[in-house]
Symmetry: C2
Subunit: 89 residues, 2 copies
DNA sequence: ATTCTTGTTACTATTAATAGTAACAGTTAC
DNA sequence: GTAACTGTTACTATTAATAGTAACAAGAAT
């Protein structure tokens, strides 16, 4: 595993404050990249709710290719993303 | 603050295991994006150590524009990134 | 059976980040 | 003073993600 990524993850693991983590992400990612993260998260939530891909694409003004990616991730057995999303559904 | 990003941050805040967080990031980011995160982190670490920008660029095979970004972030007063990095120096 | 809806894949065009490079200003060393 | 080093900015070219779109197959509804 990449040493730098591991350190980032360790920092996140040791942080218990969402706002602090938000600022951290803001300083490490561009505004566009944050927006990308946000939309990916939302895609996975909607997919998990059973919303059809085309409806998601239309509602969020996104293309299907982006949604297929989220779909594949959710289908993985024991997907961590699925578990994460379920905490907020 | 964006609701989706907030949820992501909340998830991270509640996770105390670096490996779990790593898997989470892997499922939300592309391999290239993870690599980008890694190199940004490394840039900030080296800048914090006082390594000249051109040496960083040469050693990491990166361009200066990327490094200037990290430099600006570090100069912000109370930069969270600076604090984060210092935990690993 | 056929129509409709769905997930998936494939394709080109576009966009944002950034590589590669040059130029400039400020500092330091000589 | 000037030469060397530094941080910063600006520029074009490249790259990866993705928008927009069409096509295909599978299943459900009629």
């Amino acid at each position: 595993m990449d040493k730098n990524l591991l350190e980032i993850c360790q920092y996140l693991a040791n942080s218990n404050n969402a706002k602090t983590i938000y600022k951290f992400l803001e300083s490490l990612l561009t505004p566009k990249e944050l927006q990308t993260l946000s939309s990916r998260w939302q895609i996975v939530k909607l997919l998990d709710q059973g919303v059809p891909q085309r409806k998601i694409a239309k509602d969020l003004h996104l293309s299907l290719c982006k949604i297929t990616r989220g779909s594949k991730e959710l289908k993985k057995r024991n997907s961590i993303l699925k578990k994460a999303v379920n905490q907020f559904q």
